[in-house]
């Protein structure tokens, strides 16, 4: 059976759902080996369809840029003769994949939304206007997959575990993290994993309260346009778009966002899009399944109240 490596993705000591998605894709290809650098995460991995856990020891990857992770994976690719390595499409995940592709002389595909048993991937390119099927033709298939692409299947029993001590070169350890400031987190779901995202733009005029209130009655994540993050109204980590995050939720609600191409690049593949904008000519309406021409300060509180009333 072919061996597949998946790189465990975790935030604040919690294995993220995207790890379960990687496992679900990997299961169709072959034996699922989850690679983890923090032994404390192992117990959480039985939740997902993972056959074997490889705990990499002796390297504190949090101190460096992606070099040591890529090097460890490269060594595992050769010891396991892996046919594929699946990694979450975060900025760091893509960098790990890039270095790994160089180190293993393998082809790389980024931002896929699926991979099948024959290692054929699906990608949505040009802001979601074109669907591309592609495959790696040389070496191991190095593929990064977007979060929220598949419903993770549950694990059946505990995976086996093994330890691996990679040899890390001095070059891979260049570039040292001297201190960190973790992203400020509220109680809301992670933007890329949420099934509903409510985003605010310049139209909020800095007041995100109505956006957050709607998000909270729906259990949704809050996003922002670049105009809003640039103005300092919302943290950069919440930016949706070309230079922010790409989201693909069941429902995306754009409030006071004009729909510039760079914003669309990050949300166009959402299953349903709703827009609330004062300007009936705003380009965001071109892709909205439902658009309300109106003031978000009237429409949002009314919608929030209507949802609360339905729940009561």
């Amino acid at each position: 059976m072919s061996e597949v490596l998946i790189l465990v993705d975790a935030v604040d000591g919690k294995v993220s759902k995207s790890t379960g998605e990687l496992a679900t894709f990997a299961k169709v290809i072959g034996k699922v080996n989850a690679v983890v650098f923090d032994a404390a995460l192992v117990s959480q991995l039985s939740a997902y369809a993972i056959d074997n856990v490889i705990v990499c020891t002796g390297v504190d990857v949090s101190k460096f840029s992606p070099g040591p992770i890529a090097q460890s994976l490269a060594q595992l690719v050769s010891t396991k003769s892996a046919t594929a390595v699946l990694i979450t499409s975060s900025s760091k995940g893509k960098e790990v994949a890039g270095r790994l592709a160089v180190a293993t002389n393998s082809g790389i595909i980024t931002d896929a939304t699926s991979i099948d048993a024959d290692l054929v991937t699906t990608q949505a390119v040009f802001g979601g206007s074109t669907t591309v099927h592609a495959a790696v033709t040389h070496g191991t298939s190095i593929v990064t997959l977007r979060s929220n692409s598949i419903e993770p299947i549950a694990g059946s029993g505990s995976p086996t575990t093994e330890e691996f001590t990679p040899t890390i070169s001095e070059a891979a350890k260049l570039g040292v993290v001297t201190s960190t400031q973790p992203a400020v987190k509220g109680g809301r779901p992670e933007l890329t994993e949420a099934s509903i995202v409510i985003s605010g733009g310049r139209g909020t005029n800095g007041d995100f309260k109505p956006v957050e209130a709607l998000a909270d009655v729906l259990g949704a994540a809050v996003g922002a346009s670049r105009a809003a993050t640039d103005a300092g109204w919302y943290p950069h980590t919440h930016q949706v778009g070309q230079t922010g995050k790409t989201v693909s939720p069941q429902l995306y609600v754009a409030c006071g966002i004009s729909g510039a191409i760079q914003h669309r690049a990050g949300m166009q593949t959402s299953k349903m899009i709703v827009a609330i904008n004062k300007d009936s000519e705003a380009p965001i309406f071109d892709l909205a399944d439902y658009g309300v021409i109106g003031d978000l300060f009237n429409v949002l509180p009314q919608a929030t109240a209507a949802i609360s009333a339905k729940k009561a």
Binding site: S65, P66, E95, L174, V177, D289, V299
Partner: protein
Amino acid sequence: MKIAVCVKQVPDSWAEKKMSGGTLDRAGVDAVLNDLDEYAIEEALRIVEANSATKEAGEGSGHTITLISMGPDRASEAIRKGLSMGADDAIHICDDAFAGSDALATSLVLSKAISDGGFDLVICGTESTDARMSVVPAMLAERLGWAQLTFAGSVAVDPAQSKVSIARSTEFGIENMEATFPAVVSVIEKINEPRYPSFKGIMAAKKKSIAVKSLADIGLAADQVGSKAAWSNVKDAVLRPARSAGIKVEDGGDGGTKLVDFLAEKRVI
């Protein structure tokens, strides 16, 4: 200090893009300097200005900024734009054999040009707006065996100590990182506001040198680049039906309630 900035010419983000034979059809659309690379050029200029006695980039600053670009003939337009912003000179790696190169081949070509140039720092954008892979800077660090300081929201350089430090900004927050030269840096678009080329800059750029190099000049063979060496293959590309605009209602005082009714009917809430 010798700084290289990697810049790419890309189709205009506003243009409609199509596929042709498995790759992006570049012939039919306007081409521009990748806007994320303008931030890289601007940052290089600011690093030089902050560390030179004359407070100005260019001759006399004691530092040089070289643009490096791999691309077809007409990529020279994008290079000129970068030179008119204030970079000193450029290397344009241009060869018919490059057509269809993937990120692996691109990083191989760029790494050759970089290691031949004796640079202290290489600065890239975080992403080319056409391929949107965001992997070339990390691949360069891997190939060159240099420190990788990517996704920088701020950069500080101390030439006397050969030290560079950045605040790396990712979805997980900020990591402050440092390294000694040589290093590969990539910058995010929050880092600065790129300057517009001045008239003086545009005139000066006409006289600046662009060294055009072929595949052979950088010491690579034809089978190492181009579509034959692209290790991923597009099987098919289908245009998705354009997202058609749906229902649009004017808020007559009940816009919020109507919206909720619609969402409930569609069972999304």
